[in-house]
């Protein structure tokens, strides 16, 4: 099997798989060999399930960044029936890190906004590895505003390590453009469904993430800061990223418990990177269901729901004591 990228904790799985493949390649297996292959297949399934049910936070990050994990362009092919890309931000340039355009989802017309990381080195460089610039956020906002005027529900697929930290990005107002998206997405008069499909990197994710229904794939994560960045600051070195990953509580299970997401979308056995089609099918079902549940709502109710969705997030004490000196 041409598995280019094996995660450290997947090693035993690939070893077992390799042994099985060798056996399967033999012509005319004996009944004993057939029985042995059957048992190996059962074992492989069980082992995969067991490993993936017990991923720790850092392993989850590794899965979410797996180079073969399906990305926005894969879902455009597998989930949507048509995609009419719209490139223009009307101001500076076309940011490849965010794609936007009309799409058809199970017969519905929608506006699709999604991060794009790129598959090969050339694409990754063009897309800045999924780190968008101000023009990307501006393009997204323009298209979403148009969707609001034409009554098209909005689907946002989030997959970014974070908004791009560069000189040009700062010169062109990275902070301002993200802020405007947070403000203006909150008042769009159509349903907004957001799904974190891989990495939910901080403000760069939230910049297209203010939705009515926010879901996360089982092995995606959504965090205020990258585990490496957090480790670098609080543990003084990025090599403690695994500790930071645990402390930040950003796995799908945590996000659901903390009330940050409304749904965790299960991934196929062994993660989305093993079965793009299976993942796409589940995602499609979720998207359709979420849009259906929202599209009947009168606009004032939709907006009030969205406002309250974010309004209620936060943990504090109304009355707390100051420590005595």
């Amino acid at each position: 099997m041409p598995h280019v990228h094996q995660l450290p904790f997947e090693k035993p799985l690939y070893e077992l798989e390799e042994r099985l493949l060798k056996l399967e390649a033999q012509p005319d297996p004996t009944p004993a060999e057939k029985e042995s292959m059957r048992r190996m297949r059962v074992e492989l399934t069980q082992m995969t399930r067991e490993r993936y049910q017990n991923l720790d936070a850092w392993q989850t990050v590794q899965v979410s960044r797996h180079p073969e994990r399906p990305q926005t362009p894969d879902y455009l092919e597998l989930v949507f029936d048509e995609f009419v890309e719209l490139h223009g931000d009307r101001s500076f340039g076309d940011d490849r890190a965010i794609v936007t355009g009309f799409a058809k989802l199970a017969g519905r017309k929608v506006m699709l906004v999604g991060h794009q990381k790129g598959r090969n080195l050339k694409e990754r460089n063009e897309c800045c590895y999924g780190c968008a610039h101000p023009e990307g956020y501006r393009k997204a906002m323009q298209k979403m505003e148009m969707a609001s005027r034409y009554g098209l529900p909005i689907v946002c697929l989030i997959d970014t390590p974070g908004a791009f930290p560069g000189v040009g990005a700062e010169e062109r107002g990275q902070a301002y453009n993200i802020a405007v998206n947070l403000r203006d997405m909150s008042t769009l008069e159509v349903p907004i469904v957001c799904v974190v499909i891989g990495e939910g990197g901080s403000g760069g994710a939230l910049g297209i993430g203010m939705g009515d229904h926010v879901a996360v794939l089982e092995f995606a994560y959504y965090s205020v800061i990258s585990p490496e960045g957090c480790a670098g600051i609080l543990w003084k070195h990025a090599r403690h990223a695994d500790k930071a990953a645990r402390a930040l509580r950003f796995t799908s299970k945590d996000l659901l418990e903390l009330g940050i997401v409304d749904e965790v979308i299960p991934e196929p056995l062994g993660g989305a990177h093993r079965n793009h089609f299976g993942m796409a099918t589940t995602l499609k079902g979720s998207l359709v269901e979420a849009i259906q549940s929202l599209e009947g709502l009168p606009v004032p109710e939709l907006l009030e729901r969205r406002y309250q969705r974010y309004r209620k997030i936060g943990r504090f004490e109304e009355v707390g004591q100051l420590p005595t000196a």
């Binding site: 590895y129 780190c131 390590p161 974070g162 908004a163 791009f164 930290p165 000189v167 700062e170 010169e171 062109r172 990275q174 902070a175 301002y176 993200i178 802020a179 405007v180 947070l182 403000r183 203006d184 909150s186 008042t187 990197g201 901080s202 403000g203 760069g204 939230l206 910049g207 203010m210 959504y222 965090s223 205020v224 800061i225 990258s226 490496e228 960045g229 480790a231 670098g232 600051i233 990025a238 930071a244 402390a247 930040l248 509580r249 996000l255 903390l258 940050i260 969205r306 406002y307 974010y310 309004r311 997030i313 936060g314 943990r315 504090f316 004490e317 109304e318 009355v319 707390g320 100051l322």
Partner: protein, 284 residues
């Protein structure tokens, strides 16, 4: 760049740069900008501005309120609201302990103060973040207090002035909960805006990360104090990503003015007058 592999290049709402704490205890202090040795009392009487070079030092919340609002006019809201620990977070030190230490150090419960007051006789809602408390970072308390302040300003039809001083952006000790505060405050500002409320955002040194990428950037009028550090990603992260020398004055107030993201740079001595004048123009 190799964002996935290179750990330091990942941008974040929780961008970090230590707030320049100035005016330390003691009779004398040294100016960060011109190196002059200054008499502390004299600096304080000069609005915490260096009498030699005009460098704007950090201003604690209480002094800022005195500088901007009419004497005894400030009525603080939600003064007892206090942080909790939504994640049970611990790095090399548990967040709970860190909070207590910060509270002892500053005498504040968290980084934000909001309320209503008068500025040269004009009523307004006032809020500020104080970079002395965990770098003025925005966790649940900061997000909640500012959101309530925006909602009150909407309800009372009053102008809103928020003075930001946040080197920490979103507070990483509260994880994803703090990221969502950016959305919460921004959504409240959307409603305020629809109700034709006037929001003047005052950016002071430093205003970074998730604070810059939410309420601080959303002013109808944006004012900055001179030479404040303002931006999304910390300059260290930008340098490590781009691996080029950063332009002169990168991410200063003057840089933002030049690139169109700040309306006016205002010396601290003029701030109150300028704010009052802008409020008058917008019918406050």
């Amino acid at each position: 760049m190799s964002t996935v592999e290179n750990t330091e290049t990942q941008s974040s709402a929780a961008s970090v740069r230590p707030a320049k704490r100035s005016v330390p205890d003691g009779l004398w202090l040294r100016c960060d900008a011109c190196n002059a040795t200054l008499f502390r009392k004299q600096v304080e009487q000069n609005l915490n501005v260096c009498p030699e070079c005009g460098h704007h030092f950090y201003v604690p919340t209480a002094s800022r309120i005195c500088q901007l609002l009419d004497p005894d006019s400030f009525e603080e809201w939600f003064a007892e609201m206090s942080p909790s620990d939504p994640l049970g977070f611990s790095d090399r030190k548990p967040y709970r302990e860190r909070l207590i230490d910060e509270q002892r150090k500053t005498g504040m419960r968290d980084a934000c103060t909001v309320g209503r007051g008068y500025m040269r006789g004009r009523p307004l809602v006032f809020g500020m973040t104080d970079s002395a408390f965990i770098m003025g970072s925005m966790g649940s308390v900061v997000g909640e207090k500012l959101t309530r302040a925006v909602e009150k300003a909407t309800e009372l039809k009053l102008p809103l002035v928020i003075v930001s001083g946040s080197g920490g952006g979103a507070r990483m000790h509260e994880g994803i909960v703090s990221l969502m505060q950016m959305g919460k405050v921004s959504a409240a500002l959307a409603r305020f805006r629809k109700a034709r409320g006037l929001f003047i955002s005052v950016l002071t040194n430093p205003t970074m990360g998730g604070v810059a990428a939410s309420f601080a950037s959303l002013g109808d009028v944006t004012i900055a104090e001179p030479k404040a550090l303002i931006g999304f990603a910390g300059p260290r992260v930008v340098f490590q990503t781009c691996k080029i020398e950063l332009p002169e004055g990168f991410q200063t107030s003057e840089f933002l003015l030049k690139h169109g993201f700040v309306d006016r740079i205002v010396h601290r001595a003029e701030l109150r007058t300028e704010l009052a004048r802008i409020i008058d123009y917008c019918g406050g």
